[in-house]
């Protein structure tokens, strides 16, 4: 049984280590865990000596008005991916099973 699930166990162990690492880092330090995109933008501001606010879009763009709406859109993006993965895996599984049942 465990022989056949090596990869699953390894992946779970990796995820577990990742979570533990996060708990350690977040409990020992006061990091805000903001996005690296924003940290990068701050670095640009620092290098150029111009405040972050002075960088205005070259092409006007829609900005989600709140974190909630942004979270919804990200969830939709992941959901779309999840639906496709589930659909295809199910389709393949069904293809494989059909000859056995009929």
């Amino acid at each position: 049984m465990f022989e056949n699930r090596k990869l699953e166990i390894l992946t779970l162990a990796g995820l577990f280590a990742f979570v533990v690492l996060f708990i350690i880092v977040s409990s020992q330090t006061g990091h805000a865990f903001s996005g690296s995109d924003d940290v990068g933008s701050e670095k640009i501001a620092e290098l150029t000596g111009k405040p972050v606010e002075s960088f205005t879009p070259l092409i006007p763009q829609y900005v989600p008005p709140s974190g909630e709406i942004e979270a919804t859109l990200f969830a939709l993006q992941a959901t779309f991916g999840g639906v496709v993965v589930g659909l295809v895996i199910g389709y393949w599984y069904g293809q494989k099973r059909r000859p056995i049942n009929s």
């Binding site: 990869l7 996005g35 070259l58 295809v88």
Partner: protein, 238 residues
Amino acid sequence: MHIMEGFLPWQWCLVWWLIAIPFLVVGVIELRSIMRQDREYLPLLGVCGAFIFILSALKLPSVTGSCSHPTGTGLSVMCFKPYITAVIGFIVLLFQALLLAHGGLSTLGANMVSMAIGGPLVGYGVYKLLKNTSVNIYVTVFCVAAVADIVTYVITSFELALAYPAATGGVLASFTAFFAIFAITQVPLSIIEGLVLALVFKYIIQLKPELIEKLGVFSKKQIESALRTTTGVPEEKV
């Protein structure tokens, strides 16, 4: 790894767009021809694309105290090569630029060069190197996915360093600074991404080994020996 809208001078936006566009054009042509060859490729293409959608939506915390997202391009670049991967990456980045204000239309070219083109290309190089060796195919998938992920952020650092060389130390100094922000954050994430995609690949070859074989991703012998080590009863099912 997104370069935010407005944070790249227009000259650089143009340069990266000009590099990105040929990949996009060839990718669309390849996509059409592969769909005409066999409709059975469509579900696999869906899975590969879906993982880019899922993984790039997940902002994960990292050791540096900031969050970043994996890219998920490794699977697609192995199965469908870099050009088609560029098209899928473009779709994801366009969605995020239009609706989420993560990256923008002017910086889309630069973001494509890092996430949809550069990272996957280097990952593809790793795949080519490991493909015909005795390296276990799950290890290959792990390496390709992890490398494609981390290189994406190395390229982002490079793009920003070129546009914003430091007053002292120039491009190299600011590359080091951006590298510390983007690429170091990405190390644990790329390991996780490699593991997850290797696992996904196991399920793909369990269900559809013939597709992977037909695309020439791995040989029948390699797939069978990999299945033997990770599943109980592959032979009589295939």
